[in-house]
């Protein structure tokens, strides 16, 4: 796995484990916001949503929008 693939894998893993949360997309976005360093976030934003599960993809988009909006 190279670094981007690993990030995709991690995001999916987080999404799977938070699937039972009341608001999974927000929970995944919050988790990534809290624990990933800026470069990791930037890398996955640049990578886009390929290979991401629907919840992970939605969470990444949510974060990316918030980042751009800010």
């Amino acid at each position: 796995m190279n670094s981007v693939e690993r990030l995709v894998h991690m995001a999916n893993q987080i999404a799977t484990n938070l699937a039972t949360d009341a608001a999974p997309v927000a929970a995944v976005a919050d988790h990534i916001q809290q624990f990933w360093d800026p470069r990791m976030k930037k890398m996955i934003f640049a990578h886009g949503t390929a290979g991401l599960s629907p919840v992970a993809a939605a969470a990444i988009s949510l974060l990316a929008d918030a980042q751009n909006g800010a």
Binding site: M1, Q13, T16, N17, Q34, F35, D37, P38, M40
Partner: protein, 952 residues
């Protein structure tokens, strides 16, 4: 201060709340009911002569030296076996007693060699003292030769057994039995002629069941069992109380010294974690501190293919600072980072993370807890609100059901295991606690002398969450949940949501059995026992955390404890057994990239401001890189410099090939350690470290207990570790001027609410403190969440079982799980440099007879262990401790490099690596793998020092 052994009160303390008053030698004495006359006298400073009694074990009454006279009683009862009674009138010294005692001593001495002047225990021998105390001047009996002239047993590397000096008092047997719980010793023959032996008469200590804890040596009143070191250097002349630097139990010791030379480490009776007990590591395995391979001078080199060049400290600091500045200027400040050590003190750890946050200007700081208990931090914080265990160790004394999951306490946390065993065996008529063990292996505690687990659930590695969810299913669907507790303490809606989830038919034990391989009926019975058996306490270890669902498992454990009301009082709780001595402290001190000291998120503006004002800097509000992320970033070419204090990530972290690629891609790797460890093969700068004997500071153990570490000798390398970090910071231009670690603790206390009341002065006064230490709890907090959870309402979190991505298949059909053993510690850098290698000279692969036979493997054969990540070779041992389909090994030896085969799958929430599950294949082997050979060559090359002599 001259040498004094710790006071011996003769018999154990009574825990009764009732008191009894009596008169001893005309003085009034009031003691708890159940106290012996001997102890009552000793507490008033009257020592009654004694030989077979000592306060670590129950009295036995065999030597008849402690006789006293009691008004209204016939004869002369033994004071060690006579409990006090109200109004008793006792005399300890009369002419009649003196005569009787002299007679007893005469008998003993007539069967004892009279070589006191040349005896190792001369001056520290109770037989000698008592002969003096009773005024023995000559011996009328002929010399008896019951014990004299027997051969010594030198087999144990740390203590000798000289049976000729034995007085058959049985203190050693009782200590092994009651204190350690191993029952390695037996007494043959009867009365006067009885002889002690380890196991069978034909066994020696090394080959017996003995685990070398030293309890018998401590209990022995003569030189029969004596430390080899005392034989070698003589008896100590002073002592300093300090804390063991090995495991998270945090035993308190007296370092007994002769000048600057350490003679022995003796467990301290007033130590609140260990209560006078020890294990082989803390008691004996400290020889690494003076090992010839220790590096004492700083060394630098331009490239890792160059030999090392020794330099003075000044040059080392100047060079290191210039390299860090160069890299920061060239690649940006985020190219720098560091790793704090769970073996160093709180003060040292705090300084390293401060250097990174305030000096490097980023949050790229992590610690080895990443690879062990980071899921504990995440899981317990989410559910309860604090990243730590809920109880003190004493709490186990009030536990009725002990549930151990993914922990092997007799090997990993031996002194606490002994305390657990005491409770499991019952005492003084009180029945023992019940035991449930959830572990793929049949660990020692499942079946040991006088202990048999009620339930052992040998699950398939990687299915912890499924097993715990199934237990929750049983508890909820059978109506065993403690709803009153939940309504009062937890969020009811969250509970309902969780209860509904676990109640689903798909989560029943029967339905999950094919996944977990745990018998459904057995699981149901275990769940019922935990829920209804009285006070239930959960103890867990790395078998819980080191999984892709490590954090989920911690939360599943917390759910179970809340659902059954097992939180917030003595005897219950959720207790992570921490690996390294200060892993709790390292986490508390802000070693994680997203958290400041005291577990406050770096994005929390108020917390940040506190630090910014104190330190006079601006902090980056974004989390930094975790260790695996640092390595990825290094491979990507953007992470270039690492300051690594007291950790050996190349050996301890998973997927060695990836770690070495990351390290090799950096331009400046600074290793600050005692030895040229494996990571140092990739280092450009080596800063020699100091041992726990050479510095002041504090460690925090698994029960949140902050304990002093005290300097007993001058650092051989010249500087304590905190001084090294400070000098480096100064070289980088930071204005740091600490003159003593106590000032660092003052800063920690100022910036961390849970440490508000901690200071060196307070610790000196009370011995130790369990955080939180606040205005509300000035003496600390042995038990947490007493009147409600720290986060407010306890939070139930739904934890759905997600199988790991690491799957067995035709090429890799077996599951490898890893662990450790008693005599070795972590990557073994310390213990391999002690005589402990006598017990564990190499890592072995445990394999079930069926799997072994399929592959034509026998015990002792070399086998190749291969996974998707890599392969290594080691020797096999065939045993049914592991289930079919599962293999197990330790990772204490660098040559084995078990982590060559572990993968970089990790916990979803924290990136804690999944050490406990790797799909592997085993095959016959004809020698070391290519990796092992190449690595061996690299190590040799990399350890050259310019003088031409290899350092290791």
């Amino acid at each position: 201060m001259t040498y004094q052994p710790q006071n011996d009160f003769g018999t154990p303390e009574s825990r009764s709340d009732e008191t009894v008053s009596l008169t001893i030698d005309g003085r009034n004495v009031t003691v708890p009911a159940g106290t012996s006359v001997m102890r009552a006298a000793a507490e008033k400073g009257t020592s009654i002569p004694k030989l077979c009694a000592t306060d670590s074990v129950k009295s036995f009454g065999s030597c008849r030296l402690c006789l006293v006279e009691i008004d209204g009683r016939r004869g002369t009862p033994a004071s060690c076996t006579t409990p006090v009674e109200p109004g008793m009138v006792v005399r300890t010294q009369t002419p009649h007693l003196a005569k009787l005692r002299k007679g007893v001593m005469e008998l003993y001495i007539s069967d004892h060699p009279l070589d006191c002047l040349t005896c190792a225990a001369n001056g520290d021998c109770e037989l000698q003292d008592q002969a003096g105390a009773v005024g023995l001047r000559d011996v009328r009996y002929d010399v008896q030769a019951t014990h004299l002239g027997q051969e010594k047993d030198h087999s144990n590397p740390y203590f000798d057994f000289d049976p000729s000096k034995c007085i058959a008092c049985s203190r050693c047997i009782r200590a092994c039995d009651e204190v350690q719980g191993t029952l390695a010793l037996t007494m043959e023959g009867r009365g006067w002629g009885s002889k002690i032996s380890a196991g069978l008469a034909s066994d020696n200590f090394l080959e017996s069941e003995c685990v070398s804890c030293g309890a018998c040596v401590q209990a022995c009143p003569t030189a029969t069992l004596v430390e080899k070191k005392v034989v070698e250097v003589g008896t100590p002349e002073r002592s300093v109380v300090t804390t063991c630097a090995y495991c998270g139990v945090g035993c308190t010791f007296r370092a007994e010294m002769r000048g600057e030379q350490l003679v022995r480490m003796v467990p301290y009776k007033d130590g609140k974690a260990n209560r006078g007990h020890s294990c082989v590591k803390g008691r004996f395995a400290w020889g690494y501190a003076q090992h010839q391979e220790r590096i004492l001078k700083p060394m630098i080199r331009k490239s890792i293919s160059d030999p090392w060049r020794e330099v003075e400290w000044d040059e080392a600091f100047a060079y290191t600072a210039s390299e860090l500045k160069r890299i920061s200027a060239k690649y940006g400040r985020n190219a720098l980072g560091g790793i704090t050590s769970s073996r160093c003190t709180n003060e040292e750890t705090f300084l390293v993370q401060k250097l990174i946050r305030a000096g490097f200007g980023n949050n790229n700081v992590d610690t080895c807890a990443r690879v062990c208990h980071s899921p504990t931090g995440y899981g317990l914080k989410t559910t309860f609100g604090t990243s730590a265990g809920t109880q003190d160790f004493d709490s186990v004394e009030d536990t009725d059901v002990i549930l151990i999951i993914g922990a092997n306490p007799t090997d990993g946390h031996p002194v606490f295991a002994s305390r657990m065993k005491r409770r499991l065996r019952g005492q003084d008529g009180r029945p023992g606690a019940k035991l449930i063990v959830i572990d793929p292996r049949r660990t020692d505690i499942v079946r040991s002398p006088h202990i048999e687990a009620q339930h052992h659930l040998p699950l398939r590695p990687g299915t912890n969450v499924a097993v715990l969810t199934a237990m929750a299913h049983v508890i909820v669907t059978e109506g065993l949940a403690d709803e009153a507790f939940i309504r009062e303490r937890c969020d009811w809606d969250e509970y309902s949501h969780w209860a509904e989830f676990v109640s689903q038919a798909r989560n029943s034990p029967e339905n999950l059995q094919p996944v977990t391989l745990v018998d459904a009926e057995e699981l149901r019975a275990a769940a019922r026992l935990y829920a209804t058996g009285g006070n239930g306490a959960i103890y867990y270890g790395l078998g819980v955390t080191e999984h892709s669902q490590g954090s989920s498992t911690v939360m599943a454990i917390a759910n179970l404890a809340m659902a059954t009301g097992n939180i917030g009082r003595r005897g219950v709780g959720v207790n992570p057994l921490r690996g390294q001595n200060n892993v709790q402290g390292a986490c508390d001190m802000g070693s994680f990239p997203h958290e400041l000291a005291g577990y406050r998120h770096i994005s929390d503006g108020n917390a940040r401001k506190l630090f910014e004002d104190d330190w006079g800097v601006t902090l980056d509000p974004e989390p930094g890189l975790r260790i695996p992320n640092m390595l990825d970033a290094a491979v990507d070419g953007v992470f270039k410099a690492l300051y690594c204090q007291g950790e050996d990530i190349l050996q301890s972290d998973p997927n060695t090939a990836h770690v070495s690629a990351g390290l090799a891609a950096m331009e400046c790797v600074i290793v600050h350690d005692l030895f040229l460890n494996e990571t140092a093969n990739y280092a450009h700068i080596f800063l020699p470290g100091s041992t726990f004997l050479e510095k002041n500071g504090t460690f925090t153990n698994a029960e949140r207990r902050i304990q002093p570490v005290r300097k007993v000798m001058t650092p051989m390398n010249g500087l304590e570790d905190w001084e090294v970090t400070q000098r480096l910071a100064q070289a980088m231009g930071l204005d740091w001027n600490y003159t003593h670690p106590s000032e660092i603790m003052d800063e920690i206390a100022r910036l961390t609410p849970t440490f508000a009341g901690v200071s060196f002065a307070r610790l000196d006064e009370v011995g130790s403190l369990q955080w939180p230490v606040t205005a509300d709890a000035p003496d600390g907090s042995p038990i947490m969440h007493v009147d409600g959870f720290v986060r407010g309402k306890g939070k139930f979190v739904v934890t759905d079982y997600v199988p790991t991505d690491e799957k067995t298949g035709p090429r890799f059909p077996l599951l490898l799980t890893t662990g450790r053993i008693l005599s070795q510690y972590n990557v073994g850098a310390q213990t391999r440099r002690t005589e402990n290698v006598a017990w564990h000279p190499e890592d072995l692969l445990e394999i079930h007879p069926v799997d072994a036979e399929d592959r034509g493997v026998k015990s002792g054969d070399w086998v190749k262990l291969a996974s998707r990540a890599g392969e290594t070779t080691l020797r096999a041992t065939v045993t049914d401790r592991v289930a079919p389909g599962v293999v197990y090994t330790t990772f204490h030896h660098a040559v084995t490099q078990a982590n060559v085969v572990t993968t970089d799958f990790s916990d979803w929430a924290t990136n804690c690596p999944e050490y406990k599950v790797t799909a592997v294949q085993i095959s016959a082997s004809n020698g070391p793998t290519e990796w092992q050979e190449e690595y061996e060559a690299l190590s040799t090359r990399s350890r050259r020092v310019e003088t031409g002599i290899a350092a290791e």
